[in-house]
Symmetry: C2
Subunit: 402 residues, 2 copies
Amino acid sequence: MERFTVDPARFLADLHALRQFGKDGVGVRRRAFAEPDIAARDWLAKRMSDAGLTPHFDPVGNLFGLAPGPSLLLGSHSDTQPEGGWLDGALGVIAALEVARASAEAGCSPISVVSFQDEEGCFGALTGSSVWSGKLDLAEADTLTAADGTTLAEARACLGGRAGDFIDPKQFTGFLEMHIEQGPALDLAEEAIGVVTGIVGSRQLEITVQGQQNHAGTTPMAMRRDALTTVTRIVAGLERAFANVVTPQSVWTIGQLHLHPNAPSIVPGRAVFTLQWRDEDADRLERMEKVINEVLDEVRQGTGCAITSRRLRQMLLPVPMDGQMQTALCQAAEAVTPGRWRSMPSGALHDASNVAELMPVGMLFVPSINGISHAFEEDTAEADLVDGLKVLADAAQRLARG
Amino acid sequence: MERFTVDPARFLADLHALRQFGKDGVGVRRRAFAEPDIAARDWLAKRMSDAGLTPHFDPVGNLFGLAPGPSLLLGSHSDTQPEGGWLDGALGVIAALEVARASAEAGCSPISVVSFQDEEGCFGALTGSSVWSGKLDLAEADTLTAADGTTLAEARACLGGRAGDFIDPKQFTGFLEMHIEQGPALDLAEEAIGVVTGIVGSRQLEITVQGQQNHAGTTPMAMRRDALTTVTRIVAGLERAFANVVTPQSVWTIGQLHLHPNAPSIVPGRAVFTLQWRDEDADRLERMEKVINEVLDEVRQGTGCAITSRRLRQMLLPVPMDGQMQTALCQAAEAVTPGRWRSMPSGALHDASNVAELMPVGMLFVPSINGISHAFEEDTAEADLVDGLKVLADAAQRLARG
């Protein structure tokens, strides 16, 4: 089989063309099913068609550009956060388009393209790939509502005559997703490529500390059951106890905290906070939960506060990337950016975690300048975008050669 | 001079009569200048008159019951919190009435009575005694507004023809205020009387921790500048550093805390919280502030977060009670409730702290059941109410004897 060569200028031109849909300064507002999103998908369908692919919308708005016969599938998503960056999922979609187009032009193995719908979660999260992968029933998804009260059923009605059937995943031999890192690791290390080893799993608890609300002047310190100082004991306990369990890739966050009654002259009677932790290793996620419960028990006994916890959302299991996919990506990275790449987990969720239900998946990252994403100022150096494109193309050819 | 004897039944009857004004279940709603407050003051003026005292409203609504010639002044306030208890200031006013009445009936030294207005701060705080003591100019006070937008000038217009001039404080030889403790110390120790050594001073800072808001999945722990974990370091630092400075009576409280953006999947970028501390000793208040600044410096250097602080409100200086007043109260307490009393600071503010600008002041506490006050369920055992009355009467007689 012959090799093909991607065209960086054509790729960058398409990437900037997609940026115009919902453009706001240097950023983009392209929420799923909003007018800029649908206009962008119609434009993308035309570009797929021009590239010799057959564009196809499925019922939930995922847009495929289908190559004939069994093919590798490349892509990501083209919807954005309310105040989104211009790259995020768009990068992976346009890189996929260029690789598929270059491969088709050179008569190489067929490569298909996808832009999943609502990865950014107007309705739930990773909505399009969740439905396609079978994780989420369409009838159930239809009842999900956006912040303005619109249901998914109402939103996807705007697809009109575009929507066809669901695509049978069996025609795809595997899925590769290129994405910006959305974190600082590659940028800080001045590396060009991250080959994703797995998408981390996460768990989240809502923890309630019930102490005793009291007058801040008349209640001696020794008699207080202060919910906030109890939270600080929990944090200190977690920092100490996690040290024996975690790796440098493990993360945990108390991102939300509400005090009651939250007044300067009243000893806080109640604190409610979220504790979220993520890791690539399902066993470690479980061990971290055990440690959390031990710390809560210890603090409960020490402070006299009642401490209760409940799971706030579904546990997300870690999703390891396919070994063969990782190998192809590592070899491609070493060929294109020798010594300037690393293997790393993805701390953020991606459509690839759903597609992994259907076929082997792999992912690669390019650097995010200052680690910024989900913000207008999100950006990546042009040379890094092109290196990412070349690694994706190289890996696709390695996989096609088998 | 002959001794006089108070009448506990008459005292309790008056206390329950005052409770009817604004009664709500077991509690009371009697906000300053609201209809129940003015009706209660008119009733109280009549009871003063019946007791041989000359009732007199001053321009800000303080109600005096004046004995002829130089006299000791006893009293407190009869307004309540929006959801107030039945005792709070009312206890001190009715106890004063009974002591003055009994003294007058027995032909003993003249004793005057006062019910200050708006101690509970519809307009500012301790409004009536602040104006009378000269701490707050009436013209300035008139511009203070209640939560509903009413100014004090508008509110006090309801006094109509009642309001006379300000009373010259020089006619009073001293002031004694009896109050519920509003804290748990006496109740827990099963003691009957607290002789107040001083009203604590307080200081309050608003502290802002500025870290870096980040994605909770993609930002490694070692790269985070997490505003909340920085707050926990501040709390731990304060606990450690205060240990060398404080007494068991010193208190400090973080009662209010706001995180930004306060979302489970985002590393908190900013925390803003109040730090309030109170102590009876002005030097110790100052030393505690020095310790706070040292801890903030230490944490600032350790975490890389910017930490700034500003004074949120006027510093309140501690107000020591007069030595002779304390001696009289201690002797009275030992006589009435031998071995069942203690000297203690007041962690809460009282009108006595303003009256101390004008004359020698003393205060005594009776127990609050479970330390509860500013709530409908606030209560004190009847025997403790009567013991308080007797101690107040005994101390007044000791002071009259000189």
